[in-house]
């Protein structure tokens, strides 16, 4: 048994078989053979090795002609590695002595070598050679029996070095019970999607994808950020119990609170909405008592295909979400790509300082055709229910005026064409750039609502990249400057009579619920869905006056630690069940 520590990004417990995404999304279906199969298995391996070697030698020949001998030597080196007698013996021993299938023997042998190479920084670059060899052999061995990520036949826990957004997006939530990843941080796309889909996930594990073999039994502990490899019976049992207990607690809260409003004892009513990436997440959010969708991140429409989605594709996605919402409101945020998120035709990728570059609304204002398609789609679905549109990253009145004009032009087009749309559709902006927060009193004149995006607001205010391990501990939601900006935004909005929501991660961390309530937030949009009942529970237990008093005290704190202590004390006293 081995325990590895990472960053928990999606809570829950998953127990199952590892599916290593690394080997080209290939999974080894069978691991052991019987005594009588040994010789035929050895034969299969020998044949695969001979074929792979032939392939490599041919490749080396071709490449010599085209690209010179140095590159060809890489392939001839691979062919050489395959001829290595010690290597071959190791494969054979695993088949003969341990009765592994040829595939499993290859995977395990490679794993051992990879581990050895990995420990030495000088050799770490050679790991790619081993990966390449492993893939080549497994391709030969598995032939048509390859199993792909999008057509899994049994439940697995996905283990990967890193995942592209489209890989993450294509995860089959019926089959993938957990995710463990070498790379990544709490704000990466894997984290966002895993928690949205309710799949327990741990990221930032370092080198698990090298150390694990396909088919290993593992446990993903998404609460404590642990990955347990080859658990012993005792550990397994205790996790099985915890898994069922967690489900029970969640179910009890759910039953109790799903249909009740988030209203304090003294009558302050706020909204609890959910953040989603995909329309298919709506049902789960609603089942957990979300009153609507407070943030529909539409980026994944852009990430799953090479070209920008058409108006019709937008319409189909939105219609699907609204069908599941059954009349509940939805806030659709427009294209917010750039910086940390990958985009197909990557004009965005080459900026030196992408977070301060042409991302999000800035990109859209330079490419209005992208925005136009999306806004037309939003107008078209606006008659199907309560639709609001929200622009990200807006920081000036000029940007807002341009956006308003663009929307008005489209409305006129609709009028001329006689197409119907919701004339009262609300238009809001995210407050996620410090300048927007400071300037909120003016911006409030131009919009129907605000939604505070704390992830970016904190990062831009404190000049801290949370994914950077050297400064990550300085990413502090409770920093007085951050809290003042939230307060300024809320006060400015309320002065002008508009509502202000909060859709950043801070809103989903229940430790901050009281503070945000006390600061005057009108609407929480949260993820994953299971925090909805928890937040409702907190709000229904507290007095608004007490929360406001708490917020006042926290705002006066000059030390983050002190603020955290006060919050924790208050939370614990209020609801010991939720704050152990």
């Amino acid at each position: 048994m081995e325990i590895k520590r990472g960053i928990p990004v999606s809570p829950g417990i998953a127990i199952g078989e590892a599916f290593l995404l690394e080997a080209e999304g290939v999974r080894i279906p069978r691991h052991f053979i019987s005594e009588s199969q040994i010789e035929s298995e050895v034969g299969r391996l020998e044949q695969a090795m001979a074929e792979a070697r032939k392939e490599l030698e041919d490749l080396s020949g071709h490449v010599t002609e085209r690209a010179g001998s140095k590159i060809a030597e890489i392939f001839s080196a691979h062919a050489d590695m395959l001829q290595d007698e010690y290597f071959r013996q190791e494969f054979l021993e695993r088949i003969r002595d341990k009765k592994y299938t040829a595939e499993f023997a290859v995977s395990r042998t490679m794993r051992r070598w990879r581990k050895m190479f990995h420990d030495d920084p000088f050799l770490a670059t050679r790991v790619a050679d081993l990966d390449d060899l492993e893939r080549r052999l497994l391709r030969r061995l598995l032939g048509a029996r390859r199993e792909e990520l999008d057509s899994l036949s049994s439940d697995v826990i996905l283990v990967a070095h890193d995942m592209s957004p489209s890989q993450t997006a294509s995860v089959d939530q019926e089959r993938v019970k957990g995710i463990a990843m070498d790379a990544g941080g709490p704000t990466g796309h894997t984290a966002i999607i895993a928690s949205a889909l309710g799949i327990p996930a741990v990221v930032g594990l370092g080198s698990v994808s090298d150390d694990l073999g396909g088919g290993d039994q593992i446990i993903v502990d998404g609460h404590r950020g642990l990955l347990i490899v080859d658990p012993d019976e005792e550990t397994l049992e205790s996790y099985r119990q915890r898994r069922s207990q967690a489900i029970e607690t969640e179910m009890t809260l759910l039953e109790e609170l799903r249909d009740l409003p988030a209203e304090t004892i003294d009558g302050r009513r706020v909204e609890i909405m959910a953040n989603i990436e995909f329309p298919r997440e709506v049902t789960r959010a609603v089942e957990h008592g979300a009153e609507g969708i407070g943030l529909y991140r539409t980026e994944f429409l852009y990430l799953t295909s090479e070209t920008a989605p058409t108006e019709q594709e937008h319409v189909e996605a939105y219609t699907e979400a609204m069908r599941q919402l059954d009349g509940r409101p939805i806030i659709i945020r427009t294209f917010d790509l750039g910086a940390d998120k990958f985009v197909g035709e990557s004009e965005l990728a080459h900026e030196k300082n992408p977070f301060l570059g042409r991302r999000s609304i800035r990109y859209c204002l330079d490419h209005p055709e992208i925005l136009r398609e999306q806004l037309r789609a939003i107008l078209r679905v606006s008659t199907l229910g309560e639709v609001k549109v929200m622009f990200p990253m807006v920081a000036s009145t000029e940007e807002l005026m341009t956006l308003r004009r663009l929307l008005n032009d489209l409305r006129e087009e609709f009028d001329r064409a006689g197409e119907s749309y919701d004339h009262e559709m609300e238009v809001g902006i995210m407050i996620e750039v410090p300048s927007a927060a400071v300037y909120a009193d003016v911006l409030a004149d131009y919009v129907d609502f605000f939604s505070i995006g704390t992830n970016d607001l904190i990062q831009y205010t404190l000049a801290i990249d949370r994914a950077n391990e050297h400064v990550a501990d300085m990413y502090q939601p409770l920093h007085p400057a951050v809290l003042r900006l939230i307060k300024m935004t809320v006060d400015a909005a309320h002065d002008k009579g508009i509502k202000v929501g909060l859709c950043g991660e801070m809103g989903s961390e229940i430790i901050y619920t009281i503070l945000l309530l006390g600061l005057g937030i009108d609407s929480f949009s949260v993820a994953p869905p299971f925090v909805v009942p928890e937040i409702k529970k907190i709000i229904r237990t507290v007095k608004y006056d007490d929360a406001r008093e708490m917020a006042r005290r926290i705002l006066q704190c000059t030390e983050v630690d002190r603020a955290m202590e006060q919050l924790m004390d208050f939370d614990r006293e209020l609801l010991p069940v939720l704050f152990p």
Partner: protein, 186 residues
């Protein structure tokens, strides 16, 4: 052939990139031409010297000392050949000047031939010279692309032939770019 014996030599790794893929390949390839068991030790780790995977796993860097031990009937010849290879930066010449080519392959042939006791004659066109004599090879104007025929007589003739044919087969390991389309044998 002589009785089994042990021969150990120590060499410092001279090439910038260390004991990486190509050096390892060449080392194992030459080691496999001998009957002797070969072991290589770097920084306290000792592995079989005919296995590319094992050699690679040593992660030998520029400046590391490698200890080569050969054990078997041809241990002395084996150790000398491998030492020469290591001293010559494993014939990995990323920055070799074109002018120096002519001499370098002759140096290699003469030095490797000298690792053996057998009498070794190299035939280029119709001229035959002592392959251990650098000057003689210079005089017949042996080119890196030429494929001399070897007349070898003596107790270690078999190993000597294997090593020298390997060398000539790889165009003396002079980088292909410099000798045009090189003939690469297996």
């Amino acid at each position: 052939m002589a009785e089994p014996q042990n021969h150990t030599v120590k060499v410092r790794i001279g090439n910038e990139l260390g004991f990486h893929v190509r050096p390892v390949q060449r080392f194992a390839e030459l080691a496999r031409l001998f009957q002797s068991e070969v072991e290589v030790e770097i920084n306290g780790r000792r592995v079989p010297g005919k296995s590319v995977m094992n050699l690679m796993s040593l992660g030998g860097r520029h400046g590391d000392e490698m200890t080569i031990t050969a054990c078997g009937p041809d241990a002395r010849q084996c150790a000398s050949v491998l030492r020469f290879l290591a001293e010559q930066d494993f014939f990995v010449e990323d920055n070799l000047e074109v002018e120096s080519c002519t001499e370098r392959h002759i140096d290699r042939l003469a030095a490797l031939a000298s690792c053996f006791d057998s009498d070794i004659r190299a035939k280029v066109d119709s001229v035959e010279v002592d392959a251990k004599q650098r000057e003689a090879l210079m005089e017949v104007g042996l080119a890196a692309t030429s494929r001399p025929r070897f007349e070898i007589a003596g107790e270690d003739a078999e190993q000597a032939r294997a090593v020298l044919e390997n060398l000539a087969g790889h165009c003396f390991y002079i980088e292909d770019e410099m000798v045009g389309k090189g003939r690469k044998s297996g």
